[in-house]
Symmetry: C2
């Protein structure tokens, strides 16, 4: 007989049901806006952009607006103790550059992106769309986004 | 009649069962080791400690080894563009100081700590034990720890 609870046994445990839900979260649902600088901008101006926009990761693009590098707070801090004049160092000297950049796409699973952040020990991933001859930056995915996702999820479940 | 599945209806949905599990995670199960500097160390030496230990947040203690401040990469980057000589600036000038520091304790819920990280927009929390006349730093909880918790959880569920 069916139990009178509007709830039927599916052969799955509670955790399995949850992880099916978690498994469906996409990067595009949690990503932030990307903050982008051009490759000939100075390290000093990049640091200013980082403070103005209050982000920990900047993406560097070429004249075609395609992704060529990533700048973390760590990269800029390293440059700042290694050099006297940050206004004379262009960011393309100190950035992490293609093909050493770990990327993700809007339709990727949030969990896969989270795993990349942990495995590569990085703060943020550029969210990109492949264009004809390069990568167009459409978002930024950081550990803040992952932490927010977990907090919101828990709140929705009325913990 | 009982279903023959070793599984009984509890009146809870799958998500509720999961969140009960998530609700039990404690800070102490996920925290990292704290990296500590004394308050009269220079900003330059603090930056070096940050790179040597590969962390994004340092905790500052007084001569009694009690917590007096927190230093983020952002604090050090701000100091580095605002000053010519980082070796002459002690960290107590640029740190965030008590009582403006957000803390957590080992037995706190991981979710509560995650919520503090988001609400206060900070990278890491000191994990502290109250001592007789101050706070003893016993750990470091960051968005990396939260992201790792989520990734491990998902992996354990065989996603």
């Amino acid at each position: 007989a069916r139990p009178r609870v509007g709830y039927f046994f599916t052969g799955k445990t509670g955790s399995e049901l949850f992880t099916e839900k978690l498994k469906k979260f996409k990067v595009r649902e949690y990503q932030s806006l990307p903050i982008v600088v051009e490759e000939d901008v100075s390290a000093y101006d990049a640091i200013c952009a980082m403070f103005l926009e209050d982000v920990g990761t900047l993406f560097v693009t070429n004249h075609k607006s395609h992704l060529v590098g990533v700048l973390s707070r760590k990269d800029l801090l390293r440059a700042s103790i290694g050099s006297k004049d940050l206004t004379s160092i262009p960011v393309h000297i100190i950035m992490t550059r293609m093909p050493n950049i770990t990327i993700c796409e809007p339709e990727d699973l949030l969990l896969d992106a989270a795993q990349k952040l942990i495995e590569k020990q990085i703060d943020g991933l550029p969210v990109v769309n492949p264009a004809e001859d390069g990568l167009e930056v459409v978002g930024r995915l950081t550990k803040t986004n992952i932490t927010k996702a977990l907090v919101e999820l828990a709140r929705d479940q009325h913990i």
